[in-house]
Point group: C2
Chain length 131, copies 2
Amino acid sequence: MASNRLERFVAATDDECCPADVEERRRELSGFAATADERSRARDLDVLRTLADDTRYRIVRILEAAGEELCVCEFAPFLSVSESAVSHALGDLTTAGLLDRRKEGRWRYYGTTERATALLSALDATAEGAR
Amino acid sequence: MASNRLERFVAATDDECCPADVEERRRELSGFAATADERSRARDLDVLRTLADDTRYRIVRILEAAGEELCVCEFAPFLSVSESAVSHALGDLTTAGLLDRRKEGRWRYYGTTERATALLSALDATAEGAR
DNA sequence: CGAACACTTGCACAGACGTTCAATCAAGAT
DNA sequence: ATCTTGATTGAACGTCTGTGCAAGTGTTCG
């Protein structure tokens, strides 16, 4: 049984260990696991999964580097995938809350959201050899 | 041709627009695209892809909630996947630089890295209805 | 109107990914 | 030494997903 392992571990780790100690630790750990099941989990995973793709990541990086919203036709040529793929990527990013969308005439403008900026900053701040 | 679209866009957007303006804008945009192709890109994508999985995300959340390193047997029972899957997940997370690993006797301890903490913080700080 | 344009959406397929089973390894315990 | 325990590794299978093609939407221009 899987729970036996935890029991043995607690017994081996704690010098003085009674069954109550095992149960207390189990409840504590269960609390940590509950934290990982918060309702924000599904949303977080969606955001991460969306950004974890080469095309979508590059789009966000470009828009972040630009510092302002850009028209699709301004960055699509640099992505080396079809127009269709770009559009799919933009739709996913917008749904995930990583991009904002604005329509003007026949052009569509996209810009990064606060959430996208925060994630990229976290990556940059903790990159290998980050200053 | 794809570049024509950008040309037309610049022409339509700028009031006074000469061919040189189009070229300048193209170079500027090309610079943004180059930013997205930095060497850190592969690493960033690896990190994001690794965290963008339910099992791996929950592991990191649990270790983050614990605030200290935990033995595998302490959190594996809460993940509702096989031991093997947990181990694969831990290997991926460690390779991606999201977890630290320590060996002691026959137990292995895992804890979150600064990078993992930074990413979760970015998610929490920008969640819907964040404080 | 109809044509051109900027972009989006549905569909189908090839490649990638997570899981499990089984075998394996490292380190006590007997 | 041999067995058990905690954990890792490899292979195979089923599922998910990013892409391109083709068709469709909405907007402007002649």
